[in-house]
Chain length 281, copies 4
Amino acid sequence: MKHIKTKYEILRQKTYILIHGSGTIAGKTFDLILLGVILLSLLLIMMASISKFDNKYHSFFYISEWIITVFFSIEYILRIISNKKPLSYIFSFYGVVDLLSLLPMYLSFFIPGSEVLGVIRTLRLLRLFAILDLIPILNQSSHIKESLRASMNKIIVFVYFVIVMSIVLGTIMFMVEGGHNGFSNIPNSIYWCIVTMTTVGYGDIAPITPIGKTIASFIMIMGYGIIAVPTGIVTAELSRNRKSKDIKNNCPRCKTYIYNEFANYCYNCGEKLIDGTVEIN
Amino acid sequence: MKHIKTKYEILRQKTYILIHGSGTIAGKTFDLILLGVILLSLLLIMMASISKFDNKYHSFFYISEWIITVFFSIEYILRIISNKKPLSYIFSFYGVVDLLSLLPMYLSFFIPGSEVLGVIRTLRLLRLFAILDLIPILNQSSHIKESLRASMNKIIVFVYFVIVMSIVLGTIMFMVEGGHNGFSNIPNSIYWCIVTMTTVGYGDIAPITPIGKTIASFIMIMGYGIIAVPTGIVTAELSRNRKSKDIKNNCPRCKTYIYNEFANYCYNCGEKLIDGTVEIN
Amino acid sequence: MKHIKTKYEILRQKTYILIHGSGTIAGKTFDLILLGVILLSLLLIMMASISKFDNKYHSFFYISEWIITVFFSIEYILRIISNKKPLSYIFSFYGVVDLLSLLPMYLSFFIPGSEVLGVIRTLRLLRLFAILDLIPILNQSSHIKESLRASMNKIIVFVYFVIVMSIVLGTIMFMVEGGHNGFSNIPNSIYWCIVTMTTVGYGDIAPITPIGKTIASFIMIMGYGIIAVPTGIVTAELSRNRKSKDIKNNCPRCKTYIYNEFANYCYNCGEKLIDGTVEIN
Amino acid sequence: MKHIKTKYEILRQKTYILIHGSGTIAGKTFDLILLGVILLSLLLIMMASISKFDNKYHSFFYISEWIITVFFSIEYILRIISNKKPLSYIFSFYGVVDLLSLLPMYLSFFIPGSEVLGVIRTLRLLRLFAILDLIPILNQSSHIKESLRASMNKIIVFVYFVIVMSIVLGTIMFMVEGGHNGFSNIPNSIYWCIVTMTTVGYGDIAPITPIGKTIASFIMIMGYGIIAVPTGIVTAELSRNRKSKDIKNNCPRCKTYIYNEFANYCYNCGEKLIDGTVEIN
């Protein structure tokens, strides 16, 4: 049975190669067309959101939406049937996004107006990450991803700290500014505090009383110092990551410091050094 | 006397375990309930601050406040009696916060309206740090705390410099903008200068005269460069801290450089290396 | 033929030295005059753009523009004829800028009003980089340039990520804020998202609905953390670059670690170390 | 002559100790009083700038100003006569600031209204740096100062780049936004560009046309990446500085790598290591 492939099996495999085989010409072409259609679809959604254009070309946008929806529907079905484990695709992040970007148009038969939810299709743009991973340049991202994953715990602690400080300081500002000047309630004051601590500073809410301004100044200078923390964490992680790759330091077995970078064997214990690289654990 | 425990003693110990013993099931449950009540109380305070909700559900908010106040009062008393050194708790940071978050409601019997000070309860949110310290992820924070403490002196120098510069430049801007355009007095101008140097930039006060704009541009570019300083300090500290943990370098006694990371004794003076780790002093 | 120089050849060489020979007195003088004229021309364009000045001194600005245009035209022709490969200059970045800064004035004979395009001349200011490279201080820039080039790939990945996130989050905000409050269409919402993530925060568009403010807070805190990534990348690159210059580590031939910083020969393979410096590959 | 001190000489020396001898009790007291008077004078200037207070307590402010002016005048004269090289003090930065903070009040006899220039006294606040240098904590600043001085050249290159980019991009924005929307002239557009690139973002000027918004987005993302450069420079410098202090690496004479941190002599060439520290040149 293993060697006998039904016609369907062969077709499925061909489809799989078409969709996933970015190394083949057919696969590359498919990826580029998909990339183009996603970008086009995005452009159409953006332009349709501008009322000036929508009033003029409404039917054009409507028909285009349907053509793109049909195209994406076919792609969605192909992805399911070509996959050996269709369920793992359907419930993957990309699978859910692909489905959600189709549904609104079909739903609009039953619930008129629901086609506006088509904007959810924008999320398909994230697939660009997958498609563009072909280009060697983007392989670099794995290094950054690794560092970010390693510093995730610390970033979470930091974000938690920022949120608690925002709640506490936001409440204090609400008491100080006495519910006026945009500080109309505590959630609004917390929102203002986040806007201030992150140094965004819209200015839609700004303190007016002298005490409020003094506290705000204190928050800003604190936020200015706090911005150093995530930067420090990521930088330390990136430097460390780099180091483990750049400099061969220790034998993985006896941990002896190895001077000769091109050593093939540890000079102390004779451990074979794989690929001439020694990792810091 | 040492081995004889009165009924009260046993009860106190049980209470202590309930409150502080986060390793036991009872302690964990207590912590989670406390966490929930704090978050709930916070949510109620926030919603009560929104006048739309307050007008509608005023009595609901009022009753809830009292229930939570009673709950916190019981917890406060338990904390005092269960502690062997009650005074050290009462005058600790958490003790003062716990008391301050109860007082306003009781004071409102004598001074009507003082219950609005209940918002001070938000500070109890800081206890989340203590509660969530259970979760191993947050143990990471000790590393950051350590680095921040080590770089505190330099950050203070830096903040002092920023404040002096803000006062000097704020005064200059007051002279330049001639007391108009929001630069109505020196404190306001200083406030504007801090808003600008920290790159928050509300825009509630902005220079209008050409000279004012030129000086402002200078301040911004300076502030842009200055932001590098705290970041540099913290990053250098974090990298250093990491190094002392990652690489075993020196014998704690004779400071001889040790190559073998898994060494148990210093090869020079024979000092026993605890847990196979060598600290950089 | 090689040794015989026509009068024209000699003239061309002299012109070449005048323009490019920043080591000679004539070349230096030429550079300084050019620097002065570019700055003057810039000042005139700026002042002419202020309607108050333009109304008063219009003819003065007009005549000055023509004098400067003639000066730059002569310089442009000299650069072409003095260059051995005139085409490589004409199609270089500076060549195109030089031409574009001349055209508008000449075009204004045929198309009245096109002289306002003269502002393109501002781009000539970039030549200051070339001119000021004389000053030794600026040689430092090569170090930064090198680090930036090395981290370019990672920065591109990062910028791509920021743009995708802005499109996705911008679309979500458009849906949430319902097309009001400045979030009038998707491109505007994306613009707002970039303004927020980069912590610029003009405040011309700001969320008003509670859900919008919550999402905005999330975007800000995320953006606050994200700012760490490019900083980390560049810092790691700069530190690495510095290291390769500061510490002599390995023999360029056999990569043996070399202790003696002033070593002239590798102690292992006898490789001559140029200038006493050893580079890390 | 060397050992004979006239009465005047002794008085001068006593005054010198009073002013400069921060180690003595008298000197410390003098410093603290001076600190207090400077802060008081600052507070008075600030309050006098608030028209509400000035209207009420004008004569009080006026008299206080005179008392402080007299106090500072005496201090100024003492500083001159106690110094062995009076001219070096008079023309030093502090000397000029001290004089400039006195002049306005005396000038107001001849030119009424010139006393408002008294705000220049704020610059005296910079003397706090000198006074507070007593406190050991602030000795840390020397480390930061050193790093900043070392990275000054690079920061200058960077600031120069930011300014050129601001001029070029500001001019482009002036052309794009067509002189409206606050981009009324080129200097204003440059000002806007600096406000944007430094992520301050007041919002007093903001692009309105779609092209303007697109360019602005590009500027912001660029500025976001550029902020990494000064941070990277300072961080690399601070890390380097720290390293040269933390780790003893090489003998200053033969540059041999020294393992033992507490070595008093280089184990290779016998060079005496001063204070047990070895500097990396």
